[in-house]
């Protein structure tokens, strides 16, 4: 198992990201463009809001009956000739896959995008065991060549520019140096990956939705890479977090309508594949993974986060994500929803994430299954501070604030002193030792407080 590196705090990593202002602006605008596409398409559906509500209610129901649905799913999948495995954590998930690979003497694996396998650090594990693992989603392949994790769950290479991709492909695929044409670069990747699909012994895909009623699962891609892999290889393993369960096939209509409109502003992905039984001569496996999810189910305040369908609408709209980049969240799932899911897995290492938000509520407004994302971020801040995981600076600041705000006289004095200092000795506050001065101008201090003004004008 790959060692988790001690993550760099979000704010520190973000500072590095925003040091290139032009690139930060470009990143911000690119994601806002995706958010705008989402707005345009959802407004075409008069029933959009009722569809969100329906999706949310189906998920509420599914979570409240999850064990029964998982058992039904298992039974039906087995009856369909699919092997079902259960993994308590990332380690077990990876070992189950290794065992299947070893049993079948597998040397080469193709993988379609699966954030769960990223969460479990499957690639480095398999590679360390001498197995070739190739990510086949174009964005994932680009970041894999660069030895980077994806920075976005739907748009894995969104942090990179054409030039970066061109340089990467020149190095690994020997494309023309300086040719930045996306069509040319995509064609090179197509040729390279077609060979990988044809050679692979085993294909791994994620799962977008698993249907209890039929024991089947649905995988959505625009490129067709999941299907190329799954139908070409003699073994197909689908990895799913257990929250992917929905009760019935008819519910797929709701989620397939919500998913891509929210994700990229498309009416549906190019391919929405429904897998039920292996083809003749093929082996099909499903690995059902917990990895902290059952714990989150028990946290009443954060349970709703398990309704997430991984559309990333909350990423694209988040003013902090857009300006800090996915890598600053130091986890497979970044953005607002990742900031709720990751402290559940490791509070100490992810205590910084719920603070990486303005709590503006935009994430909640766009969520297709109505997760109260910004409220959960605010609740995490309280839990993490109580449990002693907030940074020492924040804790000291909060204690100081608590003292100042508890005593009106102290509050008034502090305000007066602050206004005086800012006016008389601006250099004392306008310096880099003051975190509020970073990337901001300090406000002009008025001579009097609002309270003074109010007392003076009350009678008039």
């Amino acid at each position: 198992m790959e060692k988790f590196l001690k993550p760099v705090e979000h704010a520190v990593a973000a500072e590095k990201f925003i040091s290139d202002e032009a690139r930060t602006n470009w990143h911000d605008e690119t994601l806002w463009f995706v958010r705008a596409k989402r707005d345009k398409i959802v407004h075409k559906l008069p029933e959009w809001e009722s569809l969100r509500e329906l999706g949310s209610q189906i998920k509420n129901h599914a979570l409240s009956n999850l064990d029964t649905y998982l058992l039904a799913f298992e039974k039906n999948a087995q009856a369909n000739g699919v092997k079902v495995h259960w993994a308590a954590d990332a380690k077990e998930h990876n070992e189950i896959i290794l065992e299947i690979a070893r049993k079948n003497n597998v040397k080469k694996i193709v993988k379609s995008k699966s954030m769960l396998t990223e969460e479990c650090h499957l690639n480095p594990f398999l590679i360390s065991k001498g197995i070739e693992v190739v990510d086949t989603d174009l964005g994932e392949r680009i970041v894999q060549f660069r030895n980077e994790p994806p920075s976005h769950i739907v748009l894995p290479a969104i942090h990179l520019k054409k030039q970066d991709v061109s340089d990467t492909f020149h190095e690994h695929l020997h494309t023309e140096k300086g040719n930045n044409d996306p069509q040319y670069l995509t064609e090179a990747a197509r040729q390279h990956l077609r060979n990988k699909f044809i050679e692979a012994d085993l294909s791994i895909t994620g799962v977008n939705f698993a249907v209890a009623e039929t024991g089947g699962f649905v995988v959505c891609t625009n490129e067709g890479n999941a299907d190329m892999g799954a139908h070409a290889a003699k073994i197909h393993i689908a990895c799913m977090g257990f929250e992917k369960i929905i009760p019935k096939a008819e519910h797929l209509s709701v989620f397939l309508r919500l998913l891509t409109r929210s994700a990229t502003g498309q009416p549906i992905t190019t391919y929405s594949s429904h897998f039920h039984r292996p083809r003749k001569g093929q082996e099909m496996h499903i690995v059902i993974v917990d990895n902290g999810r059952s714990k989150q189910l028990g946290r009443e305040d954060f349970r709703n986060s398990l309704k997430c369908i991984r559309c990333a609408a909350c990423f694209n709209t988040c003013p902090v994500y857009r300006r800090s980049g996915g890598h600053s969240y130091h986890n497979a799932t970044a953005g607002p929803i990742g900031s709720i899911l990751n402290p559940n897995i490791n509070m100490r290492e992810n205590a910084d994430l719920p603070f990486a938000s303005t709590l503006c509520g935009s994430c909640t407004n766009v969520c297709p299954v109505k997760i109260n994302i910004h409220e959960q971020l605010w609740k995490w801040r309280q839990v993490l501070t109580e449990e002693g995981y907030a940074s020492s600076g924040k804790t000291a600041g909060m204690k100081g604030m608590a003292f100042v705000l508890s005593y009106p006289k102290v509050f008034r004095f502090a305000g007066k002193a602050g206004r005086w200092i800012i006016r008389m000795f601006p250099g004392l506050v306008n310096n880099t030792l003051n975190p509020w001065y970073k990337q901001r101008e300090m406000p002009v201090a008025p001579k009097h407080s609002f309270r003074d003004w109010y007392i003076k004008n009350k009678k008039a």
């Binding site: 009722s50 064990d67 174009l138 069509q183 089947g216 625009n222 594949s273």
Partner: protein, 195 residues
């Protein structure tokens, strides 16, 4: 098998009190003319080419022409001609990779997203609609429905081992959000709608 028991136990202890499943609303189907119009509009918007036809004759001609031009064409529809028997479940991906063009029947089309349902019963090999360079899907106009809700009422996802909604040619926007048609799957999708 202990992880299985542990996970199920943890879930049953941690899950909230039972919440009723919501009733699925009835989404009224639109009239066939507007469904057809919307289907065509959406399909063209996402990069498919739509051709409306009265009968099979023109498709047969297209098929014969492609063959005469030396293309490796695979037909799976009996109305077009005897389905190609050289492709079956056991065909290797190395052989399938050489296919230029395939003709496949779609069971129904969805107007809101121009997705067409295809399953094992329409295909000699699941890989065919993905690995061919160009894809032709044929649907009958009377099978078009307004939304995904009506589509799921009509199809049975479980009937065969695999099925998919296919909407447009394979595409990606992973390089600086520039839309590129032809990622891994078919580089083009032509939809014939038979009235």
């Amino acid at each position: 098998m202990s992880s299985r028991e542990d996970i199920l136990k943890a879930i049953s202890q941690n899950k909230p009190a039972l919440v009723e499943s919501p009733a699925m609303p009835v989404y009224p189907d639109s009239d066939q003319t507007s469904v057809l119009e919307q289907f065509i509009q959406t399909a063209e918007l996402i990069g498919s080419k739509v051709i409306q036809l009265k009968d099979w004759q023109e498709i047969i001609l297209e098929f014969e022409n492609a063959k005469a031009n030396g293309k490796f064409v695979v037909n799976t529809i009996s109305e077009i001609g005897t389905p190609d028997v050289s492709i079956d479940e056991m065909s290797s991906s190395v052989d399938l990779e050489k296919i230029d063009l395939s003709f496949v029947r779609g069971q129904l089309g969805v107007a809101e997203n121009s997705a067409i349902w295809v399953d094992d019963s329409n295909l000699p090999n699941r890989l065919l609609p993905f690995i061919c360079q160009h894809l032709v899907l044929v649907v009958e106009a009377k099978t078009l429905v307004a939304t995904m809700h009506q589509a799921y009422e009509k199809i049975n996802t479980f009937k065969t081992g695999w099925g998919a909604f296919i909407a447009g040619p394979s595409k990606t926007a992973d390089i600086e959000q520039s839309l590129v048609i032809g990622a891994h799957g078919a580089r083009s999708l032509v939809i014939y709608i038979l009235s």
